[in-house]
């Protein structure tokens, strides 16, 4: 049994099979969740390419699998990242199932995760953008509301992802063989520019972010959150892989300066829109854009410490948006839609969902004592000492996020007014607690716990950079 077969091919196919099974939706979703959690656990426990044993049965998981003359390679150091990846996906699937906001496409979340692992494993890495595109195409049913309706959001999303493909593939083909030192800077300038534009499409960098507000308005919050977090994280990891692969890229100060510039651009524009946005779903989308910019700024600082910051931001982002999206999902289910009015009085009608929304949004804003703050603090101090303008941009974006957070808080405690609970578009009262509520509480507590004791996650974060050799 080879690792790529176990963590890429089989889960990708299984997710698709579970998705197309007709009839009742709970069991396929639960099966996908169980498989995803088992794969996360297996990646954590079993070494790759070395003899090991399960209870008394000895076995060895091979690292490589050949496919059509090329190969998928999962080195042992990659398994921590794979474990984190599947673990995060399992949490998102659990949240979608428990809060009832995942729709019938929960198994496809596992397929997307598997294909994204494939993007990091394919050799040569030239083909990785094809895997990202396949993952984006698998996201279309996830983003489509099961009740039908406008297809503009998913189509816009897939269009932007597809536009990135030719740029990155052509750049990859032109840069093949130039991993060490290129014959001259002019030989790599144009391909590197193409690569940069490709990543701009994938990471929804301004002005290529049009799909984010549309998707977060029209799709279910859990679906939109999953796609934004996982696809952009996959693209960011692919970007880090490029720095790992090309010596000249990580030795060129200009590359880091460009990253910082783009990071400032994304953070500033995202923060500006966030300050004026009222729709709760779109607020989450713009906030995710700001977080993407922070990741670029952290990477733009250079050095080993910056990589730890990147991992911290990525891990906390996955957790924070999960809690936020789960809270919004519950509100959407109870109100029938997610609009500005839908969150009115949610603090009384759905207090636990309101708690999750506040914790998730405030963590993304960087409020002290929440997980987001713990990961932003080293970034802010690093930027303030070396690049003051970038630090100011982050502060401004946090201000915009703060305005949005206060607006959400005000909405949550606004009375129903002349509308009654249970009216279309107004959140309904519930008499009984369920497992979804427990998920919301535990998620909020986890955000608080990581914020107060960030040292809990540091040993885990230190293992993730091992996936990249340099």
């Amino acid at each position: 049994m080879s690792a790529p077969l176990l963590w890429i091919v089989l889960p990708a196919l299984l997710g698709i099979v579970l998705f197309v099974i007709p009839g009742e939706r709970r069991w396929p979703g639960l099966s996908a969740l169980a498989v995803g959690a088992l794969l996360a656990l297996a990646a954590w426990i079993f070494p790759l390419g070395r003899p090991t044993h399960f209870v008394v049965w000895p076995f060895q998981i091979e690292q490589e699998m050949s496919i059509l003359g090329r190969s998928l390679v999962m080195v042992d150091d990659l398994r921590w990242l794979v474990s984190a990846w599947y673990g995060a996906a399992s949490l998102w699937m659990l949240g979608a199932l428990l809060t009832g906001s995942g729709g019938r496409s929960t198994p496809l979340m596992m397929s997307v995760t598997a294909v994204l692992v494939g993007a990091l494993s394919v050799q040569p890495p030239l083909y990785a953008p094809l895997f990202l595109t396949l993952a984006a195409l698998l996201c279309i049913p996830i983003l489509s509301p099961p009740e039908g309706g406008p297809a503009r959001g998913p189509l816009l999303f897939v269009t932007f992802q597809l536009l990135a493909l030719p740029l990155m593939m052509v750049a990859g083909a032109r840069l093949a063989g130039l991993e060490g030192s290129p014959p001259g800077l002019e030989a790599v300038t144009r391909p590197a520019a193409l690569l940069g534009f490709g990543f701009a499409f994938l990471l929804a960098v301004f002005p290529f972010h049009a799909w984010v507000p549309v998707v977060t308005r029209t799709s279910r919050p859990m679906a939109a959150g999953f796609v934004i977090v996982f696809l952009t994280t996959g693209a960011a990891l692919l970007g880090i892989q490029q720095f790992d692969r090309f010596v000249w890229l990580r030795e060129t100060e200009g590359a880091f300066a460009i990253l910082r510039f783009v990071g400032v651009l994304v953070v500033t524009t995202g923060g500006f829109w966030l300050a004026f946005e009222q729709h709760p779903g779109r607020q989450m989308g713009f906030s995710a854009l700001v977080d993407g910019g922070l990741v670029m700024l952290a990477l733009g600082l250079g050095g080993e410490a910056s990589l730890l910051m990147v991992w911290g931001l990525l891990v906390v982002r996955s957790l924070g948006y999960l809690v936020w999206a789960a809270g919004l999902g519950v509100i959407q289910r109870q109100a029938g839609s997610l609009s500005v009015d839908a969150i009115h009085a949610a603090a009384r009608a759905e207090p636990l969902a309101a708690l999750a929304i506040v914790c998730g949004q405030m963590s993304a804003m960087g409020l002290p004592l929440l997980a987001g703050f713990a990961m932003r603090l080293p970034l802010l101090s690093g930027l303030a000492s070396a690049h003051l303008v970038a630090a100011l941009a982050v502060w401004l974006a946090m201000l915009g996020a703060g305005v949005a957070g206060i607006r959400t808080l005000a909405g949550l405690v606004t009375p129903f007014g002349d509308r009654a609970p249970g009216e279309p578009g107004v959140v309904r009262w519930r008499d009984q607690l369920n497992l979804g509520d427990l998920f919301l509480v535990l998620g909020s507590l986890l955000l608080l716990g990581v914020g107060i004791f960030p040292q809990w996650v540091v040993p885990f974060l230190e293992r993730l950079p091992l996936a990249f050799a340099h």
Partner: protein, 195 residues
Amino acid sequence: MSLLETIAVVLIFLAGLAFLVIRDWRWSLAALAVQYLGVFILVIGWLGLELAAIKLIAGWMATAILGATRPGTIAGDDRQAGALFKVFVYLLICLSMWAAVGGMLDWFPELLPFQGMSALILIGTGLFGMGIEKSPVRMVSGLLFFMSGFELVYAALEPSALVAGLLAAVALALALAGAYLSTGELPKLEEEESL
């Protein structure tokens, strides 16, 4: 340029024009199928018959998937509004691509001028089609035109079986996505039609 290649270039030119101008879904999908035939002829030289056939078969399968959704049931597909404007824009696209092909050949010396021109026409047609269409099937058809143009260029750079297979998977997945979104939109559009 051989006779077969000349026919392929003409087919691609006419397919692009037909896709943009004719609103009937049958003709649009026929245009999509015809451009796959043109691309197949042009990439045989680099990929060989086997891999080129993968592109043709996957492309035709994608067309069939889109056709199976019977997008003709969507309101307004039979309108011919703006046909003259679209012909004009299409000719403008072809002219600008003609101007751009020289620069492209500097980047891709592997390509011959007619191959570069065909790829750029497909990319331009796809981008314009995506920009002006609202129906999922027509938007996805535009994306498939765009992808065909890219595949034509990329076949010269990397004649690999894995790439051919993955690009075929992308085309099929795209068509399935278009069909999925189209069936999701149908109730709403039929409702609008009845109003």
